[in-house]
């Protein structure tokens, strides 16, 4: 049998049994619910950006003119105004104090409730000012058009300056880093526990009577990785769909590239950390012992994540630049820097090249450790011992 077929068989089994397992389905369901919850909350919060509805009572013709003028200008104030005609001030006032309407106008008198809406007040004041100005100018003999022109000069010419890195990229960068961190940590642990469970159930001895340890290692890393890719794709798609259909959350133009980079760096980061987790996990034969051997790796991973978070605050800074070329850190950092437009093309190319080289080294080391320790049962083996042992098991 070709080595490739052996690896494919192992990967296929990992994937199939993983998809079938209740634990995997349950954790996926929980994560989808969490992401959907976050998306829905952010849509509801973003809902504040729409115009706020306000009801204003108008008593008499002058008040009505102010109301009509205010409706012409309401968009600039983020308000959608509904005018309610009242015959007298008293019922209008009590409607305000009952909270049924937001304000009452009679003549040039304004009644507003407690905790007044400043935008509404400004809108009404502005409308009154314009009407008063119009009346004066008309009385001074100007035509309606002349008065209009005098009161409505063309608006200020406004130039928007793009924040460096493009709108929205910053938030997406932190989100991407967090997602990658969670994905790498959960699948690092998944592969570690899968390796240990094969040892603790002793099935590994039967498997190794058929295929080589390096083939088993490669198949497991690929299978668990595919499972991870499926999981983050489903979660990501759920979040994106809800965001796109549920609200007016606009995504930055660079989203597609960011998503592609996140996926690429998930594959690279997982290959790097996943092989390392598999290698150290093979040193122990019981799940209880795996905590102690994986903890140094965990320290590296958490440290890299924290460094990434501070580097993303200053994506052009030296920490960010150095981190781009550090394999433990780059998977979480690079997509984020790119999302903020702070990554040069050569940096990306060099980072990917360095990742690939370091993955090849980790794979070789992991295969070596795996090869030598996977059939050693009992007390955990020392990493140094596994690396130093002669070729013969």
């Amino acid at each position: 049998m070709s080595p490739r077929r052996a690896v494919a068989l192992v990967a296929e089994r990992e994937l199939r049994e993983g998809l079938r397992s209740r634990a995997w389905r349950a954790s996926l369901a929980i994560q989808v619910v969490l992401v959907a919850g976050i998306a829905i909350i952010s849509i509801v919060a973003a809902g504040g950006d729409g115009p706020s509805k306000r009801d204003v009572a108008v008593v008499g013709p002058r008040a009505e003119r102010i109301g009509v003028k205010a409706r012409e200008e309401q968009r600039d104030f983020g308000i959608e105004l509904t005018l309610k005609r009242f015959g007298a001030l008293a019922p209008a006032r009590s409607a305000v104090s009952d909270g049924d309407i937001d304000a009452a106008l009679r003549g040039r008198g304004l009644t507003i409730g407690e905790d007044p809406d400043q935008a509404l007040e400004a809108l009404l004041q502005n409308a009154d000012r314009v009407i008063a100005g119009e009346d004066r100018l008309r009385r001074a003999g100007l035509s309606r058009a002349q008065a209009d022109a005098a009161l409505n000069p063309p608006p200020l010419r406004t130039t928007e300056v793009e924040p460096s890195g493009g709108e929205g990229g910053g938030g997406l960068a932190y989100l991407g880093a967090l997602l990658l961190y969670i994905a790498i940590i959960s699948f690092g642990y998944a592969i570690a526990s899968s390796v240990v469970s094969e040892k603790s159930s002793r099935v590994v001895e039967v498997i190794l009577s058929a295929i080589r340890p390096s083939q088993l290692l490669a198949g497991k890393v690929i299978g668990v990785g595919l499972l991870g890719l499926i999981q983050i794709s489903i979660i990501g798609a759920a979040g994106l769909l809800i965001a796109l259909f549920g609200g007016d959350l606009s995504l930055p133009d660079s989203t597609a590239e960011t998503v592609a980079l996140v996926l690429l760096y998930f594959v690279l980061g997982y290959a790097f950390y996943g092989c390392a987790f598999a290698g150290v996990a093979s040193l122990v034969s019981r799940q209880e012992d795996s905590q102690s051997t994986t903890s140094p790796l965990l320290v590296v991973l958490i440290g890299s994540y924290l460094a990434t978070n501070s580097a993303l605050g200053n994506p052009e800074g030296s920490l960010a630049q150095i981190g781009t070329f550090l394999p433990p850190m780059a998977p979480m950092l690079v997509p984020g820097r790119a999302a903020q437009g702070a990554l040069a093309g050569w940096e990306l190319a060099a980072s990917i090249a360095l990742m690939v080289v370091s993955i090849l080294i980790v794979v070789r080391l992991a295969a070596r450790v795996y090869d030598r320790s996977v059939l050693r049962f009992g007390t955990p083996m020392k990493l140094r011992e596994a690396l130093a042992l002669s070729r013969r098991r």
């Binding site: 049998m1 049994e17 397992s21 039967v206 498997i207």
Partner: protein, 239 residues
């Protein structure tokens, strides 16, 4: 008694293995003929499992060699061995059928053939009605049947079984030994198994090797033994 056999299928020559200061095997040699049921007996820690692992290639010897049909055994030929380790090993949550198909495929059998072989062995060993159950849901006796099916499912050229009968009730012993004898009669597959049940070894085997403290104390045909196997064993392991 000379254990060497002109047309031996499997031959171990001068195997030695050390773990640090401890000698696990010292100059271990014996031969197993085609179609032979071969018993490998000895006290705990005498080196039975180490010897079997070396034959399988999951462990490398420090010295000596394993010959198969006259030449050094190749990786390709090792993959044609059916193995049942002493520490039973199955995927606890995997279904019985899936497990057998997977193991057959790992040994290079095509998908369809693997499915047919899995079905056949589940029937033969009486676990067919549990085909869709997870292994962990089976009784220990039934798990042992599945374990033997795993060793047999790829139609191996040689069977290496470490304590295949331990912990089985008499029905289980009959079912397993019956299946092994069928394999020997139908395809001439040599079977090497270790056991502490000396009466069983004496009843089933043509030849035996007794190992004590990493050395072969005696090997040869059961029919040629002067007394019972139990007496010979006590004699051989006392030295």
């Amino acid at each position: 008694m000379a254990g060497s056999d002109g047309d031996s299928a499997l031959r171990l020559r001068g195997l030695s293995k050390r773990y640090g200061e401890k000698t696990a095997l010292e100059d271990v040699s014996f031969s197993v003929g085609a179609g032979q049921m071969f018993g490998f007996v000895g006290p705990n820690g005498a080196g039975k499992t180490t010897t079997m692992r070396i034959v399988l290639g999951v462990l490398a010897a420090d010295a000596g060699e394993v010959l198969w049909r006259g030449g050094p055994i190749a990786a390709q030929e090792r993959r044609r061995i059916g193995y049942m380790p002493e520490e039973r090993g199955l995927y606890p949550k995997m279904r019985v059928r899936d497990q057998l198909v997977y193991m057959a495929e790992l040994h290079g059998i095509g998908k369809e053939e693997a499915n047919a072989a899995a079905e056949r062995w589940m029937q033969r060993l009486g676990v067919a009605e549990r085909a869709e159950d997870a292994v962990e849901a089976l009784s220990l006796g039934n798990q042992q049947r599945v374990q033997l099916a795993v060793a047999l499912v790829h139609e191996p050229d040689l069977l290496i079984l470490d304590e295949p009968f331990s912990g089985l009730d008499p029905d289980g012993v009959d079912a397993l030994s019956g299946a092994l004898q069928d394999e020997i009669e139908a395809r001439g597959v040599p079977v090497v198994f270790s056991s502490h049940q000396l009466d069983l070894v004496e009843r089933l085997c043509d030849s035996v090797a007794i190992i004590a403290a990493g050395r072969i104390a005696l090997s040869g045909r059961v029919a040629d033994l002067e007394g019972s196997l139990a007496e010979t064993y006590r004699e051989a392991t006392r030295r």
